[in-house]
């Protein structure tokens, strides 16, 4: 089985996000960028399928600026076999990404696409579902366990009421949740080997996809600052403040 793993380069989870002073977006200059943590889990799952003899070829795919090559090299160092970068400076929206991925699926013919349930920068949580719809494939979203039996997939999803287990036929799109696995570290010998693994660069035009943004960002603002708490000296004062200032009791 061939597995495609789309990954996104995002601002590192541990970086304090700063909004640009002109409100046009968030500051990305000289900021540590890493693989979207959910996509890391997707890469790990693909590698585990390969180690279990259930996948042969793992293709890591990313869409974005030239620097996304670094993120793809990380996936290759973890254990992906080859990588494709669809290079563009245009900001990409989920539908555009799903269309590009559909074109890549047509080109590479994987039976499984595994990706993070969402990216931690825009939190859209749309790409996997849109891709499944465009391809007309089965989809298993927010999966926390995966069992592959021939061409049949059994996935466990974390839902509000507990766990839901679904069976779906391949080909399918899977979006992964946090508890699916613990991604491995890239070992230094594998980082070196990853430098020699094939990485192909394409453009959206090569794939015949129009990725012009359909959304306009009006303004990006910091969330309101939380007010510091105050100390009161007596219960009477507390009750008074709750009643007359906070107006939460009458």
């Amino acid at each position: 089985m061939k597995v495609m793993v789309p990954i996104k380069r995002v601002i590192d989870y541990n970086v304090n996000i700063r909004v640009k002073t002109d409100g046009s977006g968030v500051e990305t200059a000289n900021v540590k960028m890493s693989m979207n943590p959910f996509d890391e889990i997707a890469v790990e799952q693909a590698i585990r399928l390969k180690e279990a003899g259930q996948a042969e070829d793992i293709i890591a795919v990313s869409i974005g600026v030239a620097k996304c090559q670094e993120t793809l090299r990380t996936a290759l160092a973890m254990g992906a076999d080859r990588a494709i970068l669809v290079q563009t400076e245009t900001p990409t929206e989920p539908l555009a990404v799903a269309k590009l991925l559909k074109a890549l699926v047509a080109q590479e013919q994987p039976q499984l696409v595994i990706l993070g349930k969402q990216a931690i920068d825009d939190d859209c949580n749309q790409t996997g579902q849109m891709l499944a719809a465009l391809l007309g494939w089965a989809q298993g979203t927010f999966i926390s366990a995966l069992n592959l039996d021939g061409q049949t997939l059994e996935v466990t999803r974390e839902v509000d009421g507990g766990l839901e287990t679904l069976r779906l036929p391949a080909p399918a799109v899977l979006t992964v949740d946090l508890r699916l696995n613990q991604p491995r570290y890239a070992s230094l010998p594998n980082i070196m080997k990853a430098k020699r693994k094939p990485l192909t660069t394409l453009t959206p035009d090569d794939l015949g996809v129009d990725i012009s943004p359909r959304l306009t960002t009006l303004k990006v603002a910091e969330p309101p600052q939380r007010q510091a708490g105050i100390k009161v000296s007596s219960v009477a004062e507390l009750v008074d403040k709750l009643r007359n200032e906070a107006k939460v009791i009458s």
Binding site: Y13, K32, S34, P37, Y185, A186, S187, L188, I191, M192
Partner: protein
């Protein structure tokens, strides 16, 4: 010989006697006129000891000064009353430096916890001694600066205690000790006099620099009541490697190779059993292979170049068989998870009540010293588990001896103290130190003469006399 060892072993557990009288009943009469005070049993047991749990917590009370004037008044009062004072910060020390076991009055600086000034031009912060180390680090970070002294106790320890112990930690190889970052210090001496030392100057060639006497003095010369700390540029995208090294003899070859080609901000060693304890706590295991020794290396990697250099070095060392595997952090989260392998050792092994040594030798002597120390410890502790970990790039190693569950605590401590005596002799041969960064306090007092000459200790005592003639400041710590 056995007799001498026994006497010395007992020596560290019997506390020094000093001619100060107990004044418990008068505390509540006198201290409230100066500053808030507490004498309830819960507070006494909390404020009477640090992380070394060897000594009973028996202070008479705890004073909480809020101003420099109150500290001065306390010191004057203590001189009149012959009352011993023990300074108290975050009490995260491991050598008993903040222990009060003999009815002393603990002076807690936790209410003097204000940051007073931030000067972006001088790149400095002036603050009170009770500011928590991490609060200072975060305050600097929010303003785009970096306070580089860092260690696992950052969330509890206070800057005053950091200065009084000249704290080191994980970044010493790049940034040095606390001493390197203090440009101004206000202290109240044992005579109750306020000294304003160096005043934030970078250059000040006007004779003896008293500031440095107080840094690392463990509260025996004066109380630190205000400090100006210097800041630096924050590190850019630190990258962490963990390497598996089979042979002790090769550890320093790896160090030399990396230090020659990269600006390292950390170079740490830990043994296989340290890794086992930390992994048992749920920290992800980095390798499939196992090895007797592991190294954690950190450097900045804002460009690709440092990592490319590191990979080349790794490749050479791999070919030479000096390392057998390695991993690199690909994100900040992974960098932190790899650091946990090193930083969680103390907490992961705390249940075994480890006996701790914190030793240093000249960096060039590390390997021969470690081989000799390994022979000594495996001979003397054949049935105890011994952990080796530490800041090996600074020549500093922590040795933790785990207490077997069935062994009585005091018998265990006595046996370990006897071995420490031999370890101290070995250290003297290697020009090493019996306390690299944990201070002397009470636990290392018996071994001071292995690192400092008798003449030197005499000068130390004379200095103590000058600043604290009545011996009221942290008596019995460092030396009697």
């Amino acid at each position: 010989m056995a007799l001498i060892v026994l006497v010395l072993a007992v020596g560290i557990f019997s506390l020094s006697r000093y001619p100060l009288t107990m004044h418990t009943p008068q505390l509540e009469q006198h201290i409230p006129a100066i500053c808030p005070v507490r004498t309830d049993p819960d507070s006494l047991s909390v404020y009477g000891r640090d992380w070394s749990t060897l000594y009973p917590a028996r202070p008479s009370g705890i004073a909480f000064p809020e101003t420099i004037e109150q500290v001065i008044a306390l010191v004057h009062w203590a001189n009149q009353q012959q009352m011993a004072l023990v300074p108290s910060g975050g009490r995260t020390g491991l050598s008993g430096g903040a222990t009060a076991s003999q009815g002393e009055l603990v002076v807690s600086f936790e209410r003097m916890n204000q940051i007073l000034n931030f000067d972006p031009v001088a790149a400095s912060i002036t603050c009170q001694p009770g500011v928590i180390t991490q609060t200072l680090q975060d305050y600097a970070a929010e303003r785009g600066w970096y306070y580089p002294v860092d260690f696992a106790a950052r969330g509890s320890s206070q800057i005053g205690g950091n200065i009084a112990t000249n704290a080191g930690g994980i970044n010493v190889i790049r940034y040095g000790l606390t001493r390197n970052w203090i440009s101004g210090l206000k202290v109240v001496t044992g005579r109750g006099e306020l000294l304003d030392l160096n005043k934030g100057l970078i250059k000040n060639a006007t004779g003896y620099d008293l500031r440095h006497l107080f840094i690392g003095s463990e509260g025996t010369l004066g109380f630190i009541v205000e400090a100006t700390v210097q800041l630096t540029r924050p590190p850019q995208q630190p990258r962490v490697l963990v390497l598996a090294v089979p042979e002790l003899a090769d550890v320093m070859a790896v160090f030399t190779a990396f230090r020659q080609h990269l600006e390292l901000s950390a170079f740490e060693l830990f043994t296989a059993n340290c890794m086992r304890h930390v992994v048992a706590r749920g920290v992800p295991q980095p390798f499939a292979v196992s090895s007797d020794y592991y190294l954690l290396i950190e450097f900045e990697s804002a460009s690709d170049e440092p990592m490319d250099t590191a990979l080349q070095l790794f490749e050479q060392l791999l070919e030479q068989g000096k390392v057998i595997d390695g991993v690199a952090s690909e994100s900040e989260a992974q960098a932190q998870a790899l650091w946990q392998l090193r930083e969680d050792i103390t907490e992961a092994t705390a249940v075994y009540q480890p006996y701790k040594n914190d030793i240093a030798v000249p960096v060039g002597q590390i390997v021969p010293f470690l081989q000799a120390a390994n022979d000594l410890l495996s001979r003397e502790y054949p049935d105890y588990e011994v952990l080796w970990f530490g800041h090996i790039g600074d020549g500093n190693l922590h040795i933790g001896v785990l207490k077997p569950a069935e062994l009585d605590s005091s018998e265990f401590a006595q046996r370990c103290a006897a071995v420490t005596e031999q370890l101290a002799q070995l250290l003297a041969q290697f020009n090493g130190s019996i306390s690299a960064e944990h201070g002397v306090g009470l636990t290392k007092k018996a071994y001071l003469s292995y690192t400092r000459s008798a003449t030197e200790i005499n000068y130390l005592r004379t200095l103590k006399q000058v600043f604290d003639p009545n011996g009221i400041l942290n008596p019995g710590k460092i030396f009697d």
